[in-house]
């Protein structure tokens, strides 16, 4: 007999279906939302006076994989300020900027999240990321596979073997269990292995090809394979004065394609050096408005002590030399690298203050269907502080309270004070759930229409949007209660692992690729391909 659930009388926010605060009943049968059903024998939840919304969807966060674990290992001082006791059957752990895997899942659940995307996995180390994701209970998850610095791809491009290169892209995604193609500083991470800082789309790298060609190949591959999510791009020149030009350059080069620009805040800076550092979020936002096919996420910064981590190794070296903070850098053979630097965003730093403003300006000038709420966790700050970001997006007073504490030169470098917009609850739900789900092509997430996964968040209505969204009261995952009265109540239940199948099998790679494989890698081809046993409880999206 089907397991049935009715959530009665809630104020339903389902922006994807044009529902904004209507009193409705939501019917669930066997883990799916249904239009109507015989309510006999159904469990009934009375949601009178409460907000009912689809579970949130994380489009960009660093949660699992080798760089997370090295980050955890690096920072005992980060852990001891935020320890989590075991409450059987829940696990203990530590929190703050790089929480342990179980704590990551619990804290996301308490914010109403039911789907998480790990934003940057080196293909060679995919098994490690998968091991950690398996230790992240309840939530559904997927991962983006790093491809923008792959030497085999470069070599194929240089020899103008575009068809094989596209097959290679499809194969790599399938062989490692990826959901989307991730690109970080295309050509730049590879150049750093040669000791060169490379910051351009249009100059030639050591391989005699231009990053714009690499990107074009990846963007077109994503379209040709009909991937649910387009290329997820961290472009060149992140974080530097003048970085807004890289954003405009990238948007102009790929304006006709689908694309996701991640942590776009870091690409909203003007000025020709740190002394003249200013926000150019307005220029980036107005360019983005002309390209509704391009989505973005914020990468908002918070004034916190956090741990930065990215596959942009040259940038991390620069951050290390700027701050003299501890520096981890790992060059991963043939394909990518990763860097980690602890970093504290300070209110007393006008540069940090401009960064804080730029993220909010960007989000407040765009349609919430185009820009989603992230902190590029942990880079801009830890994800469990999202309610702070919601507060600033929904309250001009809250923004003013912060601005009062910032250096006086902040005013002439930003225009946040001139923005009076306050986002509504519905708009926040778009930025945290409906929008990211749509951009990810997750048809059953981010809405409460018939056929949706019954990932349903119930919030107590409080005096402000930020307080309402600050913690979930009840959360259902596939129709099962996983958070009750603000506490995680489900133990070791494993969520789904979502990946794509491009149909490109091992045997479709040509001899040239196989030769490069055996010459360049330190592992055998057959031991590179991730075995099915790692894809536990998988949901495969076929997109041949």
């Amino acid at each position: 007999m089907a397991k049935k659930l009715v959530i009665k009388n809630g104020m339903v926010y389902d922006p994807a279906n044009g529902v904004e605060g209507e009193i409705r009943d939501i019917f669930v049968s066997d883990g799916k939302v249904v239009e109507s059903m015989d309510v006999k024998n159904a469990e009934v939840i009375d949601a009178t006076g409460m907000i009912v919304a689809p579970g949130n969807v994380e489009i960009h966060s660093h949660i699992a994989g080798p760089k997370l674990t090295v980050g955890r290992l690096l920072r005992p001082e980060d852990h001891i300020k935020d320890v989590v006791k075991a409450e059987y059957p829940l696990r203990s752990g530590v929190g703050f900027s790089i929480p342990t895997t179980f704590v990551t899942a619990y804290r996301y659940l308490l914010l109403g999240y039911t789907t998480l995307m790990e934003a940057a996995v080196p293909p060679l180390e995919a098994r490690h990321a998968l091991d950690e994701l398996e230790d992240m209970p309840i939530v559904d998850k997927g991962m983006y596979i790093l491809m923008g610095n792959n030497n085999i791809l470069f070599s194929l491009l240089k020899d103008k073997e575009h068809d094989m290169a596209k097959d290679f892209v499809g194969w790599l995604l399938r062989a490692t269990g990826g959901y989307a193609i991730k690109v970080v500083n295309p050509g730049g991470t590879d150049s750093w292995k040669w000791g060169k800082i490379f910051n351009s789309l249009r100059d030639e790298t050591m391989w005699g090809i231009k990053p714009v060609e690499i990107l074009k190949l990846l963007v077109e591959s994503a379209e040709e394979f009909h991937l649910p999510h387009p290329v997820h791009l961290h472009t060149y020149n992140l974080g530097s004065p003048g970085s807004y030009r890289a954003a405009l350059d990238t948007i102009n080069a790929f304006g006709d394609y689908s694309l996701h620009l991640t942590h776009l805040q870091y690409y909203c800076y003007g000025g020709d050096g740190w002394p003249t550092f200013r926000s150019e979020a307005e220029k980036v936002a107005s360019e983005l408005r002309k390209h509704p096919n391009i989505t973005a996420d914020m990468g908002q910064v918070l004034f916190e002590d956090t741990t930065t981590m990215t596959a942009d190794t040259p940038w991390q070296y620069r951050l290390h030399t700027l701050t003299n903070n501890r520096w981890v850098s790992t060059d991963v053979e043939v394909e990518v690298g990763a860097g980690i630097v602890p970093y504290k965003y300070k209110k007393s730093s006008v540069v940090n203050a401009v960064q804080w403003a730029a993220g909010l300006e960007l989000a407040l000038m765009l349609d919430p269907w185009q820009i989603f709420l992230t902190t590029d966790s942990p880079n801009g700050g830890p994800f469990f502080m999202y309610p702070e970001v919601v507060k600033w997006l929904t309250s001009e007073d809250a923004r003013r309270d912060v601005i009062k504490t910032l250096p006086s030169s902040f005013r002439k470098r930003t225009f946040l004070e001139g923005i009076h917009r306050e986002l509504s609850l519905s708009e926040i739900i778009i930025m945290m759930s409906a929008g990211p789900a749509k951009a990810l092509g997750l048809a059953n997430k981010g809405h409460l229409g018939a056929g949706a996964d019954a990932d349903i968040a119930i919030y107590k209505k409080r005096s402000s949007v930020a307080d309402t969204m600050g913690s979930v009261y009840m959360l259902f995952k596939d129709g099962e209660l996983v958070v009750d009265k603000g506490k995680v109540v489900s133990g070791e239940r494993l969520g789904r692992f979502v990946r794509v199948d491009t149909g490109v099998e091992d045997k479709m790679l040509d001899d040239k690729v196989m030769k490069m494989f055996s010459e360049y890698y330190s592992v055998n081809f057959s031991n590179y391909v991730v075995e099915d046993v790692y894809f536990k409880n998988e949901e495969v999206i076929r997109c041949e």
Binding site: T69, R72, L73, H79, P89, A126, H128, R326, V334, E519
Partner: protein
């Protein structure tokens, strides 16, 4: 996995290619194993140690034993559960020679019994981890050494004896993307307290006085900054030789230092490694350099990773307050045993009775010790309860992380009469949950 089943030899006979060797941190993944009637009869491509490991897979197998008497698997597991759930401060130790899957369960078990958990790093490369906590680390995967490194330095490490195929597969003879001629394209510098088989191949051998590595690093860092040391000899090495070494290092397009326990377990310990990391970090202002620890046991890298992702800390972790606490020394296995603070010990896939200082081993003799191991060892000899298991990478599947963190799938090539560590620890977890949590 390529299985070439040979009809002539029956269903249990086959040649299996690309097997991953579960011995040292190199995790060589090109081994060919021939199986005939359920026994390994031939091993190709591996080093002598790996070959012996596979060929002797049936020798010296542990048996289920309880207080000196043979018992059933059910009995030994039940007794282990009884001992661990009634202990006030149990210690879980080992982990470096088993799978990620088993390690993940072991941390859960330690948490449920509110004990301490430590892994073999604490008597090995633990100081490396502490140095990383102090200063970070610029490092790389072994394939980068193979593809790019035109200068390699081995410091306090004798790979031809400890990691026998490291030179061949990754660091000296290996041909790679930009190193098309292998050895000819590389310079090798070896720093050690004595001449070894590994140092005989060096372009430059620097013989350092025992315990003076820190001085050498400091001198090299001074020279790199253009400061002339006031002494002529430093750590037993003439300054001119150090200059020669630094010139070689600066001539690299991409260099890698591989270091062993010659740095981590001599005076200064993590200070040595921190000095080494600092040198490499500073070299990166001139050219590209990485540094990497020569990890010993095949999945010791995994043990530190699992502990870090489940507790935040890589070794010496305690759960007695219900959340993980980290304190090397305080919660290290040797320290806990020496101070007689633990009242029961579970050893998984390691042999502390053979490797710990005598005071710690004496303390082990006075408390109930449970050993989970595929093979007989000094520890299984002194243990009160012995739980035999299948051997990961030989008779059980599982994941292991190579010394550089690259994760690989270990294969099962023959059967074992016993369950895997993962299965045994899962049974213990269920038992403890029943006793302590009525689960």
């Amino acid at each position: 996995m390529e299985l070439e089943t040979s009809a002539k030899r029956g269903v249990e006979s086959m040649k299996i290619e690309n097997v991953v060797c579960p011995f040292c941190g190199c995790l060589c993944d090109d081994i060919e194993v021939e199986v005939d009637n359920g026994k390994i009869v031939n091993v190709k491509k591996s080093c002598g140690v790996g070959r012996a490991l596979f060929l002797n897979h049936e020798k010296d197998l542990a048996e289920p034993v309880m207080y000196g008497k043979k018992a059933s698997i059910d009995d030994v597991v039940s007794e282990a559960v009884r001992v661990l759930s009634s202990a006030k401060h149990p210690l879980v130790y080992g982990l470096s020679s088993t799978s990620i899957e088993a390690q993940r369960k072991a941390v859960r078990l330690a948490e449920l019994i509110g004990g301490s958990i430590d892994q073999t790093s604490s008597v090995c490369h633990g100081p490396t981890t502490m140095a990383i906590q102090q200063s970070g680390i610029p490092t790389c995967t072994l394939g980068e050494a193979k593809n790019r490194a035109d200068v390699v330095v081995f410091w306090g490490s004798n790979p031809l004896e400890s990691h026998q195929r490291h030179y061949e597969r990754y660091s000296l003879f290996a041909k790679g993307m930009l190193i098309s001629h292998g050895r000819k394209d590389r310079k090798l510098v070896v720093v050690d307290v004595r001449d070894t088989v590994s140092s005989k191949l060096a372009n430059l051998f620097v013989q350092v006085e025992y315990g003076r590595d820190y001085d050498i690093f400091t001198a090299l860092r001074m020279l790199l900054k253009g400061i002339q040391p006031s002494e002529e000899f430093i750590g037993g090495v003439h300054v001119d030789k150090l200059k020669e070494m630094l010139d070689i290092m600066l001539s690299a397009r991409y260099g890698v230092i591989f270091f062993g326990m010659g740095l981590t377990m001599t005076g200064g310990k993590y200070h040595n490694v921190e000095a080494a990391i600092s040198l490499v970090r500073e070299l990166n202002a001139h050219t590209r350099w990485s540094i990497e620890a020569m990890r010993g046991h095949y999945n010791v890298k995994g043990a530190g990773s699992v502990l870090a992702w489940q507790t935040g800390f890589p070794f010496s972790v305690n759960f007695s307050l219900g959340y993980p606490r980290y304190m090397p020394g305080e919660f290290s296995a040797v320290g806990l045993l020496k101070r007689r603070e633990v009242d029961a010990m579970l050893v998984i896939a390691s042999d502390p009775a053979a490797t710990f200082p005598s005071a710690a081993v004496k303390s082990m003799m006075d408390i109930p010790v449970i050993a989970v191991d595929p093979k007989k060892s000094l520890t299984t000899e002194v243990a009160d309860v012995v739980i035999p298991v299948a051997q990961v990478g030989v008779s059980a599947e599982g994941t292991a992380y190579r010394m550089d963190g690259v994760p690989l799938r270990l294969k099962k090539v023959v059967n074992s009469p016993y369950p895997s560590d993962e299965e045994i620890i899962s049974l213990m977890i269920k038992g403890v949950e029943r006793v302590r949590y009525s689960g």
